[in-house]
């Protein structure tokens, strides 16, 4: 067998074994009562009611609600982050004035602002939307800002000297050079936006996946709780995979020469 094929076989074997071991250990922890079944549901308990639980309107509608808030907030995040990032990257004074605050905002736990957002916007769509956008826009902005900063100034000088108008410089030089960074920013933001929509719903209100998880956890119903958590994990993985594929496709031309 060739070396590469052999290694691939080992890799798949290790991966399959690890996933199975994880499920078996999880099952055994519940079966042997290491954690009381009041608090944990085993894989064999979660798998059968997976479909029926999701089809209940109580669950189904909330999942769709979370997805709609997430989609709206993510679209807004990408747009706002790009615009702010372009502004901060283009105007050096603006950047030097705001950069340290952006870095502090990036590093603080955004959760401390959930109470501020919900008291300001009230319960419902808008506080979740604004909170998630606020949390997501910071990595997006930072990525775009540094990308604009790192554009080779010779490209701009060159296109200027060839008679490009400022608008043309924007469309022909600046925008194409920030697209890889935009996608990287979007990849970081998409996790933040999804997680923070759910966090906002966990904190207060009766909407969305966050409320569902909170509701089942506080009522000691581990089976539907684990159904919701597994579903959310799958949704998170699908969304993240989608953006990674988009990134690969759209930056295929961007061959690193180093």
């Amino acid at each position: 067998m060739p070396e590469g094929r052999k290694e691939l076989a080992y890799v798949s074997l290790i991966q399959a074994a690890s996933v199975i071991a994880f499920l078996v250990i999880w099952q055994e922890i519940v079966n042997r009562g290491i954690v009381p079944s009041l608090f944990v549901a085993s894989p064999t308990q979660v798998a059968p009611p997976f479909g029926p639980t999701l089809l209940e309107p109580f669950v189904f509608e909330r999942v769709l609600y979370t997805l709609s808030v997430f989609a709206a907030a993510f679209a807004f995040t990408v747009f706002a982050g790009t615009v702010i990032g372009l502004l901060l990257g283009t105007f050096i004074y603006l950047r030097s004035a705001l950069e340290p605050y952006m870095i502090v905002l990036y590093s603080i736990p955004k959760a401390i602002f959930i109470p501020v957002f919900w008291t300001f916007f009230g319960l419902g769509f808008s506080y979740q939307f604004w909170f998630a956008s606020f949390a997501g826009v910071i990595p997006m902005t930072l990525n775009v800002m540094y990308a604009v900063k790192d554009i080779d100034p010779e490209l701009i000088t060159l296109s200027r000297s060839l008679g490009a108008s400022p608008l043309q410089v924007y469309y022909k030089v600046i925008i194409p050079s920030i697209i890889p960074a935009m996608l990287t920013g979007a990849r970081i933001s998409i996790r933040a936006v999804f997680a923070d929509v759910i966090a906002a719903q966990e904190f207060v209100g009766t909407t969305g996946i966050g409320y569902l998880a909170q509701y089942y956890a506080t009522n000691f119903e581990p089976v539907p709780l684990y159904v919701v958590v597994v579903l959310t994990a799958l949704l998170g993985i699908v969304v993240y995979e989608a953006i990674i594929q988009a990134e690969k496709r759209l930056t295929r031309w961007n061959v690193q020469l180093s």
Partner: protein
């Protein structure tokens, strides 16, 4: 330029604080929602009151948060370095587990919390687990990408000069990885703090995040903003501390 930038930054801070004072004072935003800057600052001594809204005042909450953060941070660093070296050194293991790590990393972190507090309770354990889950992946991914960027020429060169495996490890691998490990420590600190505070805000029995929630439930806006200021200042202190450590460690660079 540096002094100029500093001036601009001070200007932005001044502007922010002015807006914070003016918006509620002029009635554009209700003071119940955004308590004016002056009221918030005047209220600051109350944060230490032992028999106020927050039992024990600031100090026990601060200690709870620091305890959770400390344990979660040390765990994240230890686990990510051990796993990082294991996966980096044994290529087959790395190739097997890296995709799985990315899959788990893609799960939105906040969904873990209801599971954690149901299993581990509302005490410090569930927050430590939350901080660990937030903090372990960023440094691990960072160390793994560091392994991929080790210059192969250094390794062949050390080998051809007759270095042993141990020497290769201590003289080439560890020094090349040092920047990635240091950046990983920074990420672990930031993200464990984010996870710990998120858990405290959503449901807990103590800590800075819990104090923010309690002040919010009781419509005590000035107290809530005081605690928010404490959390932000703590984050700034962490950033300053870790930057100072980085400067020391990389003083040769």
């Amino acid at each position: 330029m540096n002094l100029k930038a500093f001036g601009f930054q001070a200007l932005v801070l001044g502007l922010l604080l002015t807006v914070w004072q003016l918006l509620p004072m002029e009635g554009i935003v209700s003071p119940q929602i955004l308590s004016p800057l002056y009221t918030t600052l005047i209220n600051f001594p109350k944060i230490f009151a032992r028999n106020g809204l927050i039992p024990g005042g600031l100090i026990p909450q601060l200690l709870t948060t620091l305890e959770e953060l400390g344990v979660a941070f040390v765990m994240s660093i230890a686990v990510s370095i051990v796993l990082g070296f294991l996966f980096g050194y044994f290529k087959v293991l790395g190739r097997s587990y890296e995709p799985l790590i990315y899959l788990v990393y893609a799960v939105p972190g906040s969904i873990y919390y209801p599971v954690l507090f149901l299993t581990l309770g509302l005490g410090v354990q569930s927050k430590i687990a939350m901080g660990f889950l937030f903090g372990v992946f960023p440094p691990l991914i960072n160390i793994l990408s560091g392994f991929r960027k080790i210059n192969g020429i250094y390794i062949s060169m050390a080998r051809s000069m007759g270095s042993s495996n141990v020497q290769l490890f201590t003289k080439v691998v560890v020094p090349s990885l040092a920047p990635y490990i240091m950046a990983g420590i920074r990420l672990a600190l930031i993200f464990t703090y984010i996870g710990v505070i998120l858990g405290e805000v959503i449901a807990s029995k103590g800590g800075l995040g819990w104090a923010i929630s309690i002040a919010n439930y009781n419509f005590d806006a000035p107290l809530m903003y005081d605690y928010i200021i404490v959390v932000v200042l703590l984050a700034v202190a962490f950033l300053v501390a870790i930057t100072a450590v980085e400067r020391r460690v990389f003083s040769y660079a």
